[in-house]
């Protein structure tokens, strides 16, 4: 089984986190331990202009190891006067980003991530042209705050408006199943990672309903233990071919990469 992790992050936070993965080197060690061949990776920083620092660190890590496939990060707002989100996305893709991840601003008074189309349409149009996957953290979609600005309503609107844009929901929770099933059924360009879909045979049922080609292995590092999604896949009752697709084949296809890692 060739595991390709969708959406790992590594970096330090001012509040020490249990089970942290503080650097790309630590991430690579964990990938070795869990036999994860490659990771669609973003560095993490907590600072002003954090996304610029994160992207610099991501590309630097990717230059050091081909196992770390760079995923650029953006917030819903441009970081420089006179620049647009579309221009920032253009620069990330030109620099080698294979996907783009929307990340929220952080801090006690930070506003939640916004995924409203009036803010994002030019960006979505740009990345659809290159079929660059857009990654969105869905772990908090079920909260009241998330539901207002960045939840399934916005995902549905984006997926309908940009049908050739692959939209990857990172770690939706098992209790978001109703919305998840609906959006997967209705929009063929929506995908999701599996680490928090832990109900009994939930992954198998989603594969039966929406297709195994829509599900992606995500270890959810550094927040979660990779053993869970690994066990979901290796002990699944799905056929081997579908397990291999979920473990890494689907993500390789989305990113247009299919080669052994150095």
């Amino acid at each position: 089984m060739r595991f390709f992790d969708c959406g790992a992050m590594a970096g330090r936070h001012p509040v020490p986190r249990a089970g942290r993965v503080a650097s790309p080197e630590e991430l690579l060690r964990e990938m070795d331990r869990f036999r994860i061949e490659q990771s669609l990776f973003s560095a993490y920083r907590f600072e002003a202009e954090a996304t610029e620092a994160m992207n610099r660190a991501t590309f630097a890590a990717a230059r050091n190891s081909s196992r770390l496939v760079p995923c650029g990060v953006m917030t819903g707002a441009p970081s420089r006067i006179g620049r647009t989100l579309a221009q920032e996305a253009n620069d990330l893709i030109a620099s080698g980003a294979r996907a783009i991840r929307m990340v929220p601003s952080e801090g006690p008074s930070a506003s939640p991530l916004t995924l409203r189309r009036f803010a994002l349409d030019p960006l979505l149009d740009r990345i659809q042209r290159s079929a660059t996957p857009l990654l969105i953290d869905a772990a908090e979609f079920h909260t009241a705050q998330g539901a207002a600005t960045s939840a399934f309503e916005q995902i549905a609107a984006m997926a309908a408006g940009f049908p050739r844009l692959p939209i990857v929901l990172l770690q939706p929770k098992y209790n978001a199943q109703a919305d998840l099933i609906a959006v997967l059924r209705r929009y063929r360009n929506v995908y999701c990672t599996i680490p928090l879909l832990g109900l009994f045979r939930e992954m198998e049922s989603l594969a039966a309903i929406a297709g195994a080609d829509r599900l992606l292995f995500g270890a959810y590092l550094p927040n979660s233990d990779p053993a869970l999604p690994i066990g979901m896949i290796t002990y699944s009752k799905l056929p081997v071919r579908e397990r291999e697709m979920i473990a890494g084949g689907n993500l390789r296809r989305l990113l247009g990469v299919d080669r052994g890692a150095r």
């Binding site: 249990a18 832990g198 979660s224 990779p226 002990y235």
Partner: protein, 264 residues
């Protein structure tokens, strides 16, 4: 253990202290039948499981609670794989106490008692629970307890362990609190245990737990057919722990709690 996970091969002799069954349609999005459970046990290498019946948790009348405990029939049909908990419904205290007697009358089927505080919205030191704890203490029974508001109940749990030293109290889901909060209680009370099932599992959470409190009071639980079994098995098998610690969590500790007649 590690190779088995990556090859999708069964582990050996896993004993699961936290399971559920309930009839469900064969094409259910969320299957919960005993047949589904056993099929996944076979794939993961879980040789035995102790289950409680969803109907017992959902019972609203004494009659419903009594019927739920006809799970004995399911257990008898799969005697080599299944044992059952009596479900204690604190809002039906008298019938629950009557059902608890099954652990003494039919120990070949019922081997402990299950409490679900969040579902029943019942405090850890509510009078019905205290009555049950006294019964469990008198007969040295295991009690699997999913605690409501666990972060506010640690002091109460300490008192319960202290007042009922012969009862074996198993807190579901790592006790529902950070490992730094539950570890001191585990170290203080030899009759307190935790099980390992959870829908989310922090990076290296089990390793931190063992580091703080040792592996001797940690029991493997899957929560299947609520949660999937493969993920729960893998997180023990792939943990950065000694083979001995993983084997203890997978089965040896449960043997101490439930006795060799229950554990293969």
């Amino acid at each position: 253990m590690v190779e088995a996970v990556f090859d999708g091969k069964p582990q050996s002799g896993v004993f699961d202290v936290h399971g559920h069954i309930e009839p469900s349609p064969a094409d259910s999005v969320w299957p919960r039948r005993v047949e589904d459970l056993i099929e996944d046990m076979d794939r993961c290498g879980t040789s035995r499981i102790i289950v409680s019946h969803h109907w017992g948790l959902a019972a609203t009348t004494p009659d419903e609670l009594g019927k739920a405990h006809e799970t004995a029939a399911s257990v008898a049909a799969h005697a080599e794989r299944l044992r059952a908990y009596v479900v204690f419904q604190p809002h039906l205290p008298d019938e629950s106490m009557r059902q608890a007697q099954r652990v003494l009358d039919a120990p070949e089927s019922f081997v402990g008692i299950k409490l679900h505080g969040p579902l029943h919205q019942y405090a850890a030191d509510g009078p019905a629970y205290l009555r049950l704890f006294a019964f469990a203490n008198e007969h040295a029974l295991p009690v699997l307890f999913h605690v409501a508001a666990p972060e506010r109940s640690l002091g109460i749990l300490a008192k319960i362990c202290e007042s009922n030293p012969r009862m074996k109290l198993i807190l579901a889901h790592f006790g529902g609190v950070p490992e730094t909060a539950i570890a001191p209680l585990l170290k203080r009370y030899a009759n307190l245990f935790i099980d390992t099932c959870a829908s989310a599992h922090g990076h290296r959470q089990l390793e931190r737990m063992v580091d703080l409190a040792g592996a001797g009071q940690i029991l493997f639980g899957s929560d299947a057919t609520y949660l999937g079994m493969g993920a729960q098995v893998a997180k023990i098998a792939l943990a950065d722990l000694s083979q001995g610690d993983r084997r203890a969590i997978f089965s040896l500790n449960a043997r101490r709690v439930f006795g060799p007649k229950v554990v293969p």
